[in-house]
């Protein structure tokens, strides 16, 4: 039995319809992991695609993210003991001195919705805390966010600290935030800069070779 309406509900950001369809899929005997991989993530990818084509906007991404979360709340408790399939682990946070987190949280939601495991370490995060989170979680990607010209420079310190801790080769570093650019990413030795949540997902998949 196909549950394409579940994918559509996620892409359209319809929480109630998505939850209803998840329950129907479970009743029909679908495995939670299959529901996530074959239907939910597909819906998130569809809204991401619409966003990149200029046919959807940030609020639409957030609505899809909310629908996705609602579904995961039902599915996750059913998956205890199962090996969950994810594209990779992402540690994400706003660097020291900066308290902005709306954009960072949007990116975290999109990562989660698109099949990544996300460890959101919050705002005003020191390099020590980033290193600890990368180590503890064996992260594949470290996402650094900053909205101020006075705090973006701290990103370089985090990258240097990764190097000193011997972690730089095991983790890809992605940066984002209003004052940043591709050239700044190159200058500080980050692996990528992306300008919005959807391109962050696409770039992360590319960096991990799962695109």
């Amino acid at each position: 039995m196909k549950f394409d309406s579940l994918t559509t509900a996620i892409a359209d950001g319809k929480l109630e319809s998505a939850v209803e369809n998840v329950n129907l899929a479970l009743k029909a005997g679908l495995n939670p992991q299959t529901i996530i991989s074959d239907y939910l993530i597909l819906g998130m990818e569809q809204i991401g695609q619409r966003f990149s084509e200029g046919k959807a906007y940030v609020p639409n991404l957030l609505m899809s993210g909310r629908a996705m979360k609602g579904c995961l709340e039902i599915l996750r408790p059913l998956m205890i003991g199962e090996v969950s399939v994810s594209y990779g682990k992402v540690v994400i946070g706003t660097v020291k001195g900066d308290l902005h987190d709306i954009g960072k949280n949007l990116v975290a939601t999109m990562f989660e919705g698109c099949g990544f495991e996300v460890i959101n370490v919050g705002i005003d995060v020191s390099s020590d805390k980033f290193i600890e989170a990368v180590k503890e979680n064996n992260a594949d990607i470290l996402c650094l966010s900053a909205l101020l010209t006075t705090t973006m420079t701290y990103m370089e310190e985090v990258i240097k600290a990764l190097d000193v801790a011997g972690l730089r080769q095991q983790v890809k570093v992605m940066i984002g935030g209003a004052p940043l650019s591709e050239s700044f990413a190159k200058q500080i030795g980050a692996d990528a800069y992306t300008s919005d949540a959807n391109s962050a997902i696409l770039k992360a998949k590319q960096l991990l070779g799962v695109a």
Binding site: Y57, L148, A178
Partner: protein, 227 residues
């Protein structure tokens, strides 16, 4: 001249178009559901938000093409702003804020995991702060003073760090604004800046039109909104 103004949102006549732009819609309209959330947030914010403006008009002059002296303080405003303030001898230093209640409200939304509502509220907050700056222009014009564009640390080549100097000339207690080591203002939806004033002041150019900084977020936002 010094003035502390506390306003209601109705006095600011917030523009729906500006809110949509701030949400990234450009020339397009949000769908009905998002529109409802915008209206709902506007209604809630209208109940508690009393934006505050503090302004002070002081004598000053351009020391050279990129340095502005106001009282004994020298601001390194850079050439872009310097060129636009040339020949002016009075400056309005200002700070505006949506108030700490606005930050608290956003925190509450985050705690309740209402990410969409928080995003919309944040966009509305940005528009409120910008509208307060527009209000200053109107207020001064109502007092028979013409104004230049407003300039803020962090834009048009004026370093964000200079916000400390700017706020040192404005009694922070008036608007309850504090500044972190990284020059981040609390409440977060606050704007500080300076504009030239006078009977014969001429406004040159228009926002991004006077500036060539390619990586400025305002310019990026405009590009996004044109697509």
């Amino acid at each position: 001249m010094e003035k502390h103004l506390q306003l209601s949102l109705s006095e600011l006549s917030l523009s729906k178009r500006e809110i949509n732009l701030s949400l990234g819609y450009g020339r397009n309209q949000p769908d009905q559901l998002i529109e409802e959330i915008i209206n709902q947030e506007l209604q809630i914010i209208n109940q508690f938000c009393r934006p505050s403006i503090y302004l002070r008009i002081l004598d000053g002059d351009l020391v050279n093409h990129s340095e502005l002296k106001v009282l004994d303080t020298i601001f390194l405003v850079g050439e872009i702003i310097g060129n636009n303030l040339h020949g002016i001898s009075k400056f309005c230093l200002f700070v505006v804020t949506t108030g700490i209640e606005f930050d608290e409200y956003k925190k509450d939304l985050r705690k309740q995991n209402k990410q969409l509502e928080e995003f919309v509220a944040d966009a509305i907050g940005s528009v409120i702060a910008e509208s307060c700056v527009d209000y200053i222009h109107k207020y001064l014009q109502g007092n028979d003073l013409k104004t230049t564009l407003g300039y803020s640390p962090g834009y048009c080549g004026w370093r964000l760090e200079e916000q400390k100097l700017l706020l040192s000339l404005l009694p922070s207690s008036k608007c309850n604004i504090s500044l972190s080591d990284s020059s981040l203002m609390t409440p977060m939806k606050s704007v500080s800046g300076i504009l030239g004033v006078g009977k014969n002041v001429r406004r040159k150019g228009y926002s991004c039109g006077i500036c060539t900084l390619d990586n400025c977020y305002k310019r990026k936002q405009k590009r996004m909104n044109l697509n």
